[in-house]
């Protein structure tokens, strides 16, 4: 049996516990990441939902900015995490952190305030059946290059996308009761971790 991949969940603020729970159920070892030196040991990382301005400020204060720009393993941003991974932010603070890991221009609170938060079944091009998506003061985005693979759209804008090993979703799979996206992310991290360990000459348990 393959070793479990170690996947970090950024735990500065937001709904990190929900992601940890889903990751464990999807077959990963989940760890809470509060310091940049913890990034070394990871096979993948999730930037969770929460308040993007809060998380962005804490990332800067605790020295995560450069390590996250360089982080070369799979990384997945949901909601606030999607905002942080984008190249440009509309409707943010003037100095709001954009890590430029995916070629998207993201609009914060694209649907409006909490009164316009909603759930809806959402079709993703990489899933056979729709996912029961939860959008909480959610962002939407437009692609800035053809390197972005759009997986789902809402109201004509990007709600889920991939670019190389960077994944984003503007909704909350970790609140959906649906493990498919987490399983898929864990599989991506696992193949990466096995390749890495093989190259390093390590033996799989």
């Amino acid at each position: 049996m393959a070793a479990k991949p170690v996947i970090g969940v950024l735990a500065l603020q937001g709904a990190f516990a929900e992601h940890e729970d889903y990751l464990r159920r999807a077959g990963a070892l989940a760890v809470e990441v509060r310091r940049p030196d913890q990034l070394e040991e990871l096979d993948g990382l999730i930037l969770p939902g929460g308040e993007s301005t809060t998380i962005g400020k804490l990332l800067r204060r605790f020295g995560f900015e450069e390590p996250l720009r360089r982080f070369d393993r799979p990384i997945w941003g949901t909601c606030a995490g999607m905002i942080l991974l984008s190249r440009e932010i509309r409707g943010g603070l003037p100095d709001q952190l954009a890590l430029d890991r995916i070629d998207l221009r993201v609009t914060r609170n694209a649907f409006g305030r909490q009164a316009d938060s909603f759930t809806a079944p959402l079709e993703l091009s990489n899933l056979a059946e729709p996912i029961p998506a939860v959008f909480i003061r959610a962002p939407l985005a437009e692609p800035l290059s053809d390197r972005v693979e759009v997986l789902a759209e809402v109201d004509g804008q990007v709600a889920a996308a991939r670019q190389a090993n960077v994944w984003v979703s503007s909704f909350h799979p970790e609140l959906s009761g649906d493990l498919r996206l987490h399983k898929s992310f864990v599989a991506t991290c696992r193949s990466r971790s096995q390749g890495h360990k093989f190259q390093a000459g390590g033996q799989q348990a």
């Binding site: 709904a15 929460g50 301005t53 909601c79 909490q114 909603f118 759930t119 809806a120």
Partner: protein, 295 residues
Amino acid sequence: MSKEKGSLQVKSGLAQMLKGGVIMDVSTPEQAVIAQEAGACAVMALERIPSEIRKEGGVSRMSDPAMIQRIMDAVTIPVMAKVRIGHFVEAEILQALGVDFIDESEVLTPADEEFHIEKSHFKVPFVCGCRNLGEALRRVGEGAVMIRSKGEAGTGNVVEAVRHMRTLNAEIRRAKLMPEEELMSYARDLGVPIDLLKQARKAGRLPVVTFAAGGIATPADAALMMRLGCDGVFVGSGIFGSSDPASRARAIVEATTHFADPKQLVQCSRGLGEPMRGLDIASIPQHELVQGRGR
């Protein structure tokens, strides 16, 4: 695409996104910007912070919608506002205004000494205060998607918030350890729905996001409440009642993230100037305590 708004999942969802964060009381757009800049995950708009309400007395009501609107326009983070206990019309007004969260709060003068708002009918999420498991689960039964300790607001003294979280934890622990046949009587004694008590017993915690509130004045206070099992903290008078609100606000945000890391807490506790003066609870006349409002 058919969008379903205002469901329990959508209301609880926002509470979940606030976890690990600090929600700060603000009375002006300028204060709201300072709070956002410090890293607050939301602000609570109210005309007078609790320590001023305590000092000035009189009837304390929902804030002027124009004042709340100015704060909503000044920041991009969620904005909460308070209504009086049982005042469902104030809540309808705030929902129509479009605030992101309502606090049915004992800090304001109660409008109803018998009944709370039936919160499940609203599309906007609600947070309510509690001193113990009975109060908490009754509020959840009425539709609150977030619970906070009551503490004793406006005192800068964390002792009551600690008491309330300790009580909550002890009562949940008791439910957890008790044989199943004793649960119904425990639910009867607490005055709570049995299904919610079973949920709390199974999870070992409240079935909703649980924040600390009431008297938090320092980074160490915030970290203490996190260590007692809270998901995040409200800071009322503790920030804008102190000598250097911007630094203190930022420090409390950092302490709430690194609550279990004493070395980080040393860093964020340094050189913050004077905290709010604070009150000994024993020096407050019994009838001026607000935590007994709304059971």
